[in-house]
Amino acid sequence: MTPDLIYGLTGIAVFGIGLVGALCVQERLRRVLALKLCSVGAGFVLVVGAWREPPEMPDPVPHALVITGIVVMVSATAVALALIRRLQTLEATDER
C-alpha cells in the first residue's frame, strides 16, 4: 500500500465517475462538471506516474503537463459555460 497505488486507483475511479456523468446526466451544468471530474482523474494518474519513493525527487515533466492541462481545462470550461448561458437565454426568450 503506497500512495501511488491508492491515489492511482482514486484517479481512475474519479475518471470513471466523470465519464458516467458526462454520458448519462441531462443538466448542462452538471455535464460540464462531469467532464471536469474526468480531467482531474487524468491528472491524478499523471501525477502518480511522476511520483517516486520519497527520498527521490518526482519527475517534473508530468507535473508541467498537468499544470498545462488544468489551464486548458479552465479555458474549455469557460467557453462551455458561456455557451450554456447563451443557450439558456435564447431558450428563455423563445418561450416568452
Partner: protein
Amino acid sequence: MTDPLVIFDLLLALSIVALAVASLSVRDLFAMIVLFIVFGLLSALAWVRLSAPDVALAEAAIGTGVTGALLLKTLHHLRFVAGGQGLRAGSGGTSMAPAAPVPVPVPVGVILANAAFCGLITLGLAVAFLGAPSAGPGFDALVADAMPDSGVAHPVTGVLLNFRAYDTLMEVVVLLAAVVAVWQIERGLSDAPAPVMGEVWQGFARLALPAIVVIGTYLLWVGAEAPGGAFQGGAVLAAVGLLLLLTRAYVPRPAHRGIARGAFVLGTAAFALVALLVASGGRVAFEYPLEHAKTLILLIEGMVTLSIAVTLAALFHGREPVALPKGGRDDT
C-alpha cells in the same frame, strides 16, 4: 504498511471518490458546485501527498478557485434567466434547477448500458494501471542533467518555460482563444445584475486586495526556485479582478476594451517575441543563452502572469463590455 500516513491516504482517497459521486448526484445545483469545490481542494491535498506541490497550487487556484467562481457565476445567470420568465422562482435562494425545457427522460436501459460501458473502460484502465511497471524510466535523469542549463533552480518551472516552452506558449494561446470565444458567444447578451454583497464584504475586499497582490507576485517570483510560478501567481492575481468586479469598485466600460485586448495578447506576444529574438541569434527558438536565461524566463513569466490574471478575470466577467443603454456607471 507501517506508515501511519497510509490511513490518512486511504481516508482522503475515499472522501475524494465520495465527493465526486455526491457532486454528480446531489439535486441542488448550488450544492453540486460547493461539493465540487471541496472535491478540488481535497484533490490538491492528495497531490501534495504525491509530492507535486506545483500541481496542487495550480489545481487549488485555477482548477478549483477560478472554475468554482465561473460555475457560480453561470448558476447565478441561469437562475436570473429562469426567474425572469413569468413566475419569479420562489424566495430566490431555494429555487432549484433553472427552468430548462423538460428534457426527454433517457430510457433506463440506455443509462445502464452507458454505465456498464464506462465501468468496463474504468476496469480496463485499472487493470492497465496495476499491470504497468512501477516507476518507469521517466524523464527524471534527463531533466536533472539539463537543469544547470535552464537558468532556474526549480525543475517544474524549468520544464514549463525552457525545455517544453512550446507547450506553455500554446497554453497561453488557448487562454487567448477562450476569451475571444467567450466574447463572441456572449455578444449582446444581457447580464444578470451582480449580487449586492454588503459592507462587510466591501471591507474584506479592501483588506484582502493588497494582500492578494503581494501573494500573487510572491508566487510568481518564488517560482524560479520553489513551487509556484506564472500560472499559480496569475490565478491569485485574477482574484484581484474578481474582487474588483464583485465589489463594483471596477465596472468594465467599452472604452477599456483596448487595454483589455492588449493585456490578453501581452503574454502570447512577449513569449513569441522572445522566442523569435532567440531564434534570430542563430539558435533554436527556445534555446535561451545561458547568461540571460533567468532574465528572459522571468520576463516571460511576468508578462504571462499579467495576461493570465486579466484573461481569467475577463472569463469570469464574460460579456464584452459594450455600450448598452443602461450602462452601469461607476459610483465609487
